[in-house]
């Protein structure tokens, strides 16, 4: 395993490179492999509407160094843009918004490349999608023209490109991640405290022998040695004693564990100068969490039970390894050992020996898995490092979008449409709200989603901005600016009358989910969306752009766990809710 090899090689004694210094604070989160994934990402933003949330999202991706981005935005910079968008200034008035945004966002990081559309060579979204190298992730902001949305969805399906829809208006926003299929993540970064797996109830021979050797004359040990027995060894010793006194059975019920803990506590020496032993305290404190039978965590169970619909997907490294781990689990009734030993009071040498025993067992298990993988068709191409990572994180592997993304419903075989999923979610959420006061849980934010969704295509200007470039004369620029401003003002007046009244929003909600339009929370949400009339608040756009950037980073690096699949933000109450829609 790579970790071992590194520790044996004398490290180079120079400091970090310039790039490592610049990215130090994020490399501590996603390491060099995550950074490499970001740097090879190519992200498209299809921007429209007030246009700030897209810019804020890109800012948060350009700073950590995504490889390249493209902005498609047909708008020209208006006065209203300057009051809400930080990546535009007075000199941009009347110019192409995609060009101005691209230029000011590129200033943030010289390592990143960016391009803007439409331009003289590429005039439409369709030609951009046709002529560009495949995009890693596509983000689009609402309102968007229905025909452009269909084009993006078709592209996402065809190229297996994740799409992220974003809508920010007034105090409200949501984003929705549309993954092209089941999305497995191995490197989920669980909390360190959750990852301890010591196998105290199914120890292997080397571990048993080590513990026996240290405790065979436990009462004869001097105070120093007794006070420095690692708690793993202490627990193994007293578990053996327990077994001998209980027909070969381990303490597994809660009551038995409590009794066992008392035995461990009572075994500590108190007639020493310290009046107690820290290692025995550690041992007693660890009983409930570490004296456990091996079990199959729900995330991995979902992976094991997943039914493939796509044969190509099935042959990927992840699924080959998952199958091998499943076989291993069926045979050994436990997962491959992760091999990490938490810190505990012990002498250095003893601790390092014990650590070595855990690591050796982990290597052995990983080698077995690799063997199974390599014996399966296509398995010879799987990278052993990928197998190691899977084995270390097996208990925390997670499958996102296991049933969505056009996959069929496994129980009925029928395809569930997006509209039906939304109706089912509405039933569930409004039923929950009935009891929310009793359970002290906050009310559903689904009404916000419904009200925003009702304006997903509202407020679009019908005229497409002409494409111009820097080569055009100043006079033309100024004329264009004046024209754009006029257009914008007309548009704003129209917006308030067209589609942005609470009544028209509620009518659209009623079409999507009949019957909910009379609910007070839905009416309130509609009124709040009407108040914004398609305008953004900078703070809400910035907050949403931060969340979308986090999610995009998680999708691109395949680290941490992305939201599945819709995240709604309420800037009045100051909270978010994730809904599966």
């Amino acid at each position: 395993m790579t970790e071992i090899i590194m520790s044996q090689t004398p490290p180079i004694l120079h400091g970090p490179s310039e790039k490592e210094r610049k990215y130090d604070r994020q490399l501590r989160l996603w390491a060099a492999n995550g950074q490499a994934a970001l740097e090879s990402a190519n992200i498209l933003l299809v921007n429209s509407g007030a246009g700030t949330v897209g810019a804020e999202t890109l800012k948060n991706l350009v700073l950590p160094g995504i490889g390249r981005f493209a902005i498609y935005d047909e708008a020209r910079v208006s006065e209203a843009d300057l009051g809400v968008n930080f990546f535009l200034d007075d000199s941009c008035l009347g110019a192409s918004r995609s060009q101005s945004l691209t230029e000011l966002i590129l200033e943030l990081n010289p390592d990143v490349q960016g391009s803007w559309y439409p331009n003289e060579d590429t005039k439409t979204l369709d030609s951009l999608l046709t002529d560009s190298p495949v995009f890693t992730v596509i983000m689009y902001t609402h309102p968007i023209r229905p025909e452009q949305l269909s084009r993006l969805e078709a592209y996402g399906q065809q190229h297996k490109t994740p799409l992220v829809a974003i809508h920010s208006a007034g105090f409200y926003s949501y984003f929705q991640i549309n993954l092209p299929g089941a999305f497995p993540i191995v490197d989920t970064h669980p909390d360190e405290t959750a990852t301890t797996d010591l196998r105290l109830l199914n120890p292997w021979p080397e571990l048993v022998a080590f513990a026996e050797e240290l405790t065979k004359d436990i009462d004869g040990l001097d105070n120093f040695e007794h006070g420095h027995l690692p708690y793993v060894v202490i627990l193994l010793h007293y578990l053996e004693q327990w077994k001998a006194a209980h027909d070969g059975k381990y303490p597994t019920a809660f009551k038995e564990k409590a009794e066992f803990r008392k035995i461990v506590q009572a075994a500590a020496r108190t007639n020493n100068p310290e009046g107690g032993e820290e290692n025995f305290e550690e041992a007693a404190a660890a009983v409930v969490k570490t004296v456990v039978l091996p079990s199959l965590p729900s995330g991995l169970k979902e992976v094991f039970e997943y039914e493939h619909t796509d044969p190509a997907e099935q042959r990927s490294g992840f699924w080959l390894i998952a199958d091998a781990v499943k076989k291993f689990y069926e045979e050994h009734k436990c997962l491959p050992l992760p091999g990490k030993l938490p810190d505990m009071k012990a002498q250095s040498k003893v601790y390092i020996q014990l650590q070595g025993i855990y690591k050796a067992k982990a290597r052995k298990d990983a080698a077995k898995i690799l063997q199974i993988v390599q014996a399966s068709p296509g398995g010879e191409h799987v990278n052993p490092a990928e197998v190691d990572l899977f084995c270390k994180n097996a208990a925390f592997v997670k499958l996102i979008n296991a049933t969505g993304g056009g996959a069929s419903d496994s129980s009925s075989g029928a395809k569930i449409s997006r509209a039906d999923r939304l109706k089912a979610a509405a039933d569930r959420e409004f039923a929950n709200d009935e009891t929310a006061a009793l359970s002290l849980s906050p009310l559903s934010l689904l009404p916000i989603y419904l009200a925003l969704q009702a304006t997903a295509h509202v407020g679009l200007s019908t005229a497409t901005a002409p494409t111009t470039t820097n080569s055009e004369s100043e006079a033309a620029e100024t004329a264009a600016a004046a024209e754009a401003e006029k257009q914008q003002q007309q548009q704003q007046q129209q917006e308030t009358t067209r589609g942005f009244t609470a009544e028209s929003i509620l009518a659209a909600v009623a079409q999507a989910v009949p019957g909910v339009e009379k609910r007070e929370r839905v009416v309130q949400a509609a009124r709040e969306v009407a108040r914004a009339a398609g305008g953004e608040l900078h703070n809400v756009a910035a907050l949403t752009g931060g969340m979308v950037a986090q999610e995009t980073i998680k999708i691109v690096t395949k680290q941490y766990i992305p939201a599945d699949n819709t995240c709604v933000y309420d800037g009045v109450g100051g909270r978010v809710q994730v809904l599966r829609l």
Binding site: L29, G83, L537
Partner: protein, 437 residues
């Protein structure tokens, strides 16, 4: 439904989106306290203070400038480092070494027309109450708990019940990796930073004997180099944690130590991380938390929607590690808070402790976190850190046990620390029996 009137700012076309919201009531706006007409002018006249021009601070300045605030001050004593550039988006490579407050202020002023930003390149402790009194709102984006506690104590100390202007709402943000929090404090009315101190407990220190004789982890080797080897060998006159030569020295020492004990995992990056207590930070999280803070600032300044703080929720916890999760709740004010409460707080002590053990215990105590405490009991001085004469006079007490000093269960002691000069931490002693070492 009738559409309410928009009361525009001085440049109506530019601020149309903002004005629609801040000058018109929504379904959640409290009509008793909201009036749309004066909002734009009132916000333009407000003075708002930003503390910190780092990861959160850059975002705060941008957000406030685009929220209709026109008179913003910013305090930061730091200079720009290359490791800031992955998130502190107002700074460029060419700005490395310059004052954060000054560069940030100039950038936002240039980008957003009509906003005035006054930078202060100094410590918050360099200003007195008169300075802080001029602001209507304070927004913090700090990485130090100590600075937060200081401004919190200062703002609470400034409250004069008879002067409405003396209540300065404090909005505070903090981030770590994909997680963070935003909270709103109304001095003396809601739970304060000191009330919430135990939510940010310090990391448990590794015992000195582990560092000195039984290291097991790479971090133990780094701490040994930092705490023990540096003092013994003094390779440079003073440790500068930002000097790569100093970190390299510590790294090499730690590496030799690790090799001696066969401990894997000591790297330059780990060494730097442990010595400087580096907290991972990214633009995306700062964006979320700073925006959550400024959203509250806008609502407080305009009353256009309910804000955090009064009367219910005052704290939003955010986590992006596993999906997206927020928990927005009311943190209760504590009657025994040393800053905003009246009562003494219970303190469990072992009567057999020496005074030194008691003094040392305040650093790790989650609800105190005092590094240089001085102690008094009713009618007598137990230990004073300064002046030197008083320190020398009270030093012999350090080796006496609490019983020998005549301290009794139920007795009150007062603790002060130079980092929070205005605060008297009152504790009521509770005797416990000695457990393990």
């Amino acid at each position: 439904m009738a559409t309410a009137q928009v009361y525009p700012a001085s440049e109506p076309a530019r601020w149309i989106y903002l004005d629609r919201i801040r000058t018109r009531p929504g379904p959640f706006t409290n009509p008793d306290i909201f009036s749309g007409e004066p909002v734009a002018a009132a916000m333009e006249a407000m003075k708002i203070l930003v503390i910190g021009a780092g990861g959160l601070g850059c975002e705060l300045l941008k957000n406030l400038a685009l929220s209709g605030f026109k008179d913003i001050h910013v305090i930061d004593m730091d200079t720009i480092d290359i490791s800031n550039l992955n998130r502190q988006f107002l700074f460029r490579q060419a700005d490395v070494g310059k004052s954060k407050a000054e560069v940030a202020a100039r950038f936002v002023e240039k980008r957003v027309k009509g906003v005035k930003i006054t930078p202060h390149n100094c410590r918050i402790q360099d200003f007195d109450e008169d300075f802080y009194m001029q602001f209507q709102l304070v927004v913090c984006g700090l990485d130090s708990i100590e600075a937060r506690r200081w401004i919190n104590a200062t703002l609470i100390n400034m409250v004069d019940e008879e002067v409405e202007d003396s209540y300065k709402p404090l909005i505070d943000g903090g981030t770590e990796g994909f997680k963070g929090q935003a909270r709103v404090i109304f001095p003396t009315v809601t739970s304060c930073i000191e009330c919430q101190l135990d939510m940010h407990a310090p990391r448990a220190a590794v015992p000195l004997c582990t560092l000195a004789s039984i290291p097991r982890q790479p971090e133990h080797c780094v701490e040994w180099a930092h705490v023990i080897a540096w003092d013994q060998e003094k390779p440079f006159p003073e440790l500068d944690k930002d000097d790569p030569d100093h970190i390299t020295w510590l790294y090499q020492k730690a590496l030799l130590r690790a090799q001696e004990f066969n401990i894997p995992g000591v790297t330059y990056s780990l060494t730097q991380g442990v010595v400087k207590n580096i907290i991972p930070a990214i633009a995306a999280t700062n964006s979320v938390i700073a925006a959550a803070c400024c959203n509250e600032a806008l609502k407080i300044a305009s009353n256009c929607a309910p804000f955090l703080g009064l009367p219910e929720e005052n704290y939003m916890m955010y986590s992006g590690n596993d999906s997206v999760y927020t928990y927005t709740f009311k943190h209760e004010k504590k009657d025994d808070c040393p800053v905003c409460g009246q009562l003494a707080r219970d303190l469990a002590v072992d009567p057999a402790w020496t005074l030194r053990e008691l003094v040392d215990s305040f650093a790790a105590l989650p609800e105190a976190q005092l590094k240089k405490p001085s102690l008094r009991a009713e009618g007598k001085t137990l230990y004073m850190q300064s002046p030197p004469s008083l320190e020398a006079q009270t030093r012999p007490n350090l080796d006496k046990t609490l019983v020998e000093l005549g301290l009794e269960a139920g007795q009150e002691i007062g603790v002060t620390d130079p980092a929070f000069a205005t605060v008297l931490f009152k504790f009521k002693l509770k005797f416990k029996q000695r457990g393990g070492a």
